[in-house]
């Protein structure tokens, strides 16, 4: 992507994936996005296009989005083949139009992954991620009866590492960017958070086996060290977490 030049507003050509429903065939449809202020976010640019589509009596482009501050993980699309677009460490809602130039053609497609079925246009079904968490992405503790928070000291560097892993927003960019559509960064991040913290140790063995098993069951592929996930992760989650997951999984497999 070229660095944007001096002008305040730009015109773009969009090619957007349109697909009525999961079972329908999709195709790319062209739209013009004109007079787009460079201060707009990518989603605000799409708002402008959608307003015009509605005024012309047609069906607007469907896309998931909610918080628009990069934390809910709702939004996401392939922009010119890159998950969440050309900027590093950025969700689609935090991508600003100043990173595009007048006259650019922008191709927008939904996440590509066998486990994420298209719901409509750019909207995909990411419930496979929820299923992986349901398999063991938590500490089994009921409400009530927890010991005092300071009864379990956690060294600062451990807490920081756990937090690095816990920052995952579950957007799906990792699986979408991976040539194998692997969900190992997502799964590894959650397994790592609890493998690092003392609270997670009692269930560590069961957790690694169950979550990895569910990940496979949901149809995600394997890791072949392409590192695309890390490169496209809007929260900069490191593939160290995949290594840690593999270690946990191996440990659990041998011991069981």
């Amino acid at each position: 992507m070229k660095q944007a030049s001096g002008e305040k507003c730009i015109n773009l050509k969009l090619k957007v994936w349109r697909q009525k429903a999961e079972e329908s065939n999709g195709r790319l449809e062209s739209f013009k996005a004109e007079n787009i202020s460079k201060d707009m976010s990518f989603l605000e640019m799409l708002d402008v296009v959608n307003e015009e589509i509605i005024l012309s009596g047609k069906d607007p482009i469907a896309l998931d989005h909610d918080c628009r501050e990069g934390i809910c993980g709702s939004c996401g699309a392939m922009v010119n083949g890159r998950a969440h677009g050309p900027e590093k460490g950025t969700t689609l809602c935090q991508l600003h139009m100043r990173h595009f130039s007048n006259g650019d053609t922008v191709v927008i497609e939904p996440w590509r992954s066998r486990a994420f079925k298209v719901v409509k246009d750019l909207v995909v079904d990411r419930s496979a991620f929820d299923k992986i968490i349901q398999a063991g992405g938590y500490i089994s503790v009921n409400t009530g009866g927890a010991p005092d928070g300071n009864a379990i000291p956690v060294p600062q560097e451990v807490a920081e590492k756990a937090m690095d892993a816990a920052e995952c927003i579950g957007c799906g960019a990792c699986a979408a960017a991976c040539p194998n559509a692997s969900a190992m960064l997502f799964t590894g991040a959650k397994i790592s958070q609890f493998a690092l913290l003392p609270q997670g140790h009692p269930e560590a063995k069961k957790r690694a086996l169950a979550m990895v098993g569910e990940m496979d069951k949901q149809g995600f592929g394997n890791c072949t060290n392409e590192k695309e996930c890390e490169a496209e992760c809007p929260k900069g989650i490191s593939i160290i977490n995949i290594a840690r997951m593999n270690r946990e999984f191996l440990k659990s497999s041998i011991l069981s």
């Binding site: 708002d47 991620f129 938590y138 379990i152």
Partner: protein, 637 residues
């Protein structure tokens, strides 16, 4: 209708314990016979769903997002308060209670707020046990930071993503119950109506947002945890889908709506840039710990911040409030920022901004220390503004952030409709007329983990009702009304889009029912909203079709409700002839431009009863009794 807050007798500190003992219990073996609907999966909804399922109830949980993990609690940045006194700096349950009551400008219930402070410590313990990665000191102990409206350090945090981490903790607990098949989860569902049978809440009508089909769901009780109504203003820090519709549908079915005029305008948000703007982004209040707020001393000073020497800068908060400085409560900080801009001292292109400067903090603590505390916030700012806050001061301006008003609930968190419970931001109960920072997360989790599990049990133990069938005539009536309204919205096929109307409503509310209000403006707003609503039902253009994934239709339904709700906000603001916290009526201010309460006439909760679309809602007053704290003029000097 007589409002009974059901506040237990006895000394303040014993009320909750005594009440818990007196509440009825459901036999463990019988709990599985009760079905509970929970709407919303933010902190309140997710924690309630998980905890109720752990107790043995059959729970059905609904959310509008594709996953419960995406509810807007996720966006809370700064932290969560608790009275742990880990810092040995003089904190206590009593002090947290007092700060919250005072911060709320004495418009909340003593008993509720005290209970909130009491359960706050248990929340931290629970979250630590769940593996929430709170910030730690080198020795491994939990770290704290300061927040507005308090002089002790009691805020627990996980970088600038505390809401995310707490929500993921609750989502984990919820996921565990889903796996155990104690919770049935329904994602991408929008609650469009409440079904009331024989005077009790017995179910909901939802729209499946993928297929567009309506669904009926019955239960023995309904719990709403559907958040606030800040998006009435169009631009706010709320998520795009945050809305008032579930609460408003309940209001139309007989639940009273309390204090709808009370909105919190957060002082540290990224300023508005253009008319295309879809939402505003908050910069955590925790930034005010280290950032210094200033404007140029001379109005219309167009120099860049670096060119303005120290002696020509006005650190107006530090000057005016030496005691609290930059850490005054949100309403005070917001009004002062507005005042500076009103007198021409605003900065940036629009002159609707003030500086938040980290130069001194970076000099004092070093670049790395500041990155550790606020790194993600600085990054977010740079992405949006294309300016580096390590080098040049941030520009901030107030934005709509939180709503203190909500459905009226009693001490048990039950609305005026038996069996309808309301948690978190959706209720009105704990923050008075201004919420202190780091208290929303505390309240959401208090309601969900530690209050509703007790109080709903008592309701179910005492309720003697039969199971209802989803073919009951009330379900069908509701279903048909919802369907008719959707068809009407689709069939108007006018000339203005939903967003276009919404933006205009937002402008009206911001202008006349925002940071400061006056009677003339409010009267004008009432008429403008009425006219806009009339036009909406003649001229709105909804894209797409009914039985489809249709985000235009989703918004059309919500904006239709906001247009009606906006008028209720204004009505309430006009009725409250005083200033308190987030409600600042220009006619009522002290000589120093602070909010001037009228405790003789307005020391009450205003709860509104719906009486049909064409009649003015009826006002009910719940007097607020202060037996433990003295009503004083708030001072942060």
């Amino acid at each position: 209708m007589k409002l009974d807050s059901k506040i237990p007798d006895g000394p303040l500190s014993e009320k909750w314990d005594r009440h818990r003992f007196e509440l009825g219990l459901v036999n463990p073996a019988n709990k599985k016979k009760f079905e509970i609907i929970v709407v919303g999966t933010g902190l309140a909804g997710a924690s309630a769903s998980a905890t109720l399922a752990e107790l043995g109830y059959e729970v059905k949980t609904f959310c509008i997002q594709d996953s419960p993990r995406r509810a807007h609690s996720i966006a809370a940045q700064g932290g969560i308060n608790a009275a742990k006194n880990y810092q040995n700096d003089g904190d206590s349950i009593w002090r947290l209670f007092y700060d919250t009551i005072k911060g709320g400008d004495f418009r909340s219930r003593e008993a509720n707020v005290y209970r909130l402070a009491q359960v706050s410590n248990g929340i931290i313990d629970q979250c630590v046990a769940q593996g929430v990665p709170f910030a730690r000191e080198f020795g491994g102990q939990l770290a704290n930071r300061s927040f507005g409206g308090a002089q002790v350090s009691r805020t627990f945090y996980a970088r600038g993503q505390t809401g995310q981490q707490l929500l993921l903790g609750a989502y984990g607990a919820l996921s565990r119950q889903i796996a155990a098949e104690k919770v049935r989860l329904f994602t991408r569902r929008d609650m469009l109506d409440l079904v009331v049978i024989d005077g009790k809440a017995r179910g909901i009508i939802v729209r499946n947002l993928v297929s567009g089909k309506l669904e009926k769901h019955s239960a023995d009780a309904v719990v709403l945890a559907t958040g606030g109504y800040g998006n009435a203003f169009y631009l706010s820090t709320n998520a795009m889908a945050s809305n008032v519709s579930a609460a408003f549908a309940s209001y139309k079915k007989g639940a009273l709506f309390a204090n709808p005029c009370l909105t919190q305008i957060h002082p540290t948000c990224i300023p508005v840039k253009g008319t295309y703007q879809s939402k505003l982004t908050l910069m955590s209040e925790s930034l005010r710990n280290d950032g210094r707020v200033w404007v140029p001393k001379i109005p219309e000073d167009k120099r860049l911040p670096a060119q303005i020497p120290e002696s020509e800068r006005d650190y107006y908060l530090e000057e005016k409030y030496p005691g609290f400085g930059n850490l005054v409560p949100r309403d005070v900080a917001s009004r002062n920022a507005k005042h500076q801009c009103d007198i021409g001292k605003g900065v940036g292109d629009t002159q609707l901004a003030v500086y938040l400067d980290f130069k001194d903090a970076i000099k004092r603590d070093g670049h790395d220390a500041i990155t550790r505390k606020y790194g993600n916030l600085f990054e977010m700012y740079e992405k949006i503004m294309a300016q580096d806050p390590y080098e040049t001061p941030m520009m901030i301006y107030p934005a709509v952030h939180y709503t203190m008003g909500g459905l009226w609930v009693d001490y048990n968190l039950m609305s005026t409709i038996p069996g309808l419970f309301v948690l978190g931001e959706a209720n009105f109960s704990d923050h008075g007329s201004n919420r202190l920072g780091a208290s929303a997360l505390m309240q959401g989790l208090a309601d969900g983990y530690f209050i509703i599990p007790y109080t709903i049990g008592s309701y179910l133990a005492e309720a003697s009702h039969d199971k209802v069938d989803e073919d009951h005539k009330e379900f069908n009536t509701s279903y048909n009304e919802v369907e008719a309204r959707i068809e009407k919205l689709i069939s108007i096929k006018g000339k203005r889009t939903v967003d276009n109307f919404h933006r205009e409503l937002g402008n009206i509310l911001w202008e006349y029912c925002g940071m400061s209000r006056n009677n003339n403006g409010l009267k004008k707003a009432k008429k403008l909203i009425k006219d806009l609503r009339a036009e909406y039902w003649e001229n709105v253009l909804v894209g797409g079709s009914e039985y489809d994934f249709n985000q235009s239709l989703e918004r059309a339904w919500r904006v239709a409700d906001f247009l009606q709700f906006g008028e209720l906000m204004v009505t309430d603001a006009l009725e409250r002839q005083e200033s308190c916290g987030g409600h600042f009526n220009e006619n009522y201010q002290t000589d120093e431009n602070e909010a001037l309460r009228d405790d003789k006439l307005f020391c009450h909760v205003s709860a509104w009863e719906y009486r049909g679309n064409s009649r003015k809602p009826k006002l009910h007053k719940e007097p607020l009794k202060f037996e433990n704290v003295e009503l004083t003029q708030r001072s942060y000097k």
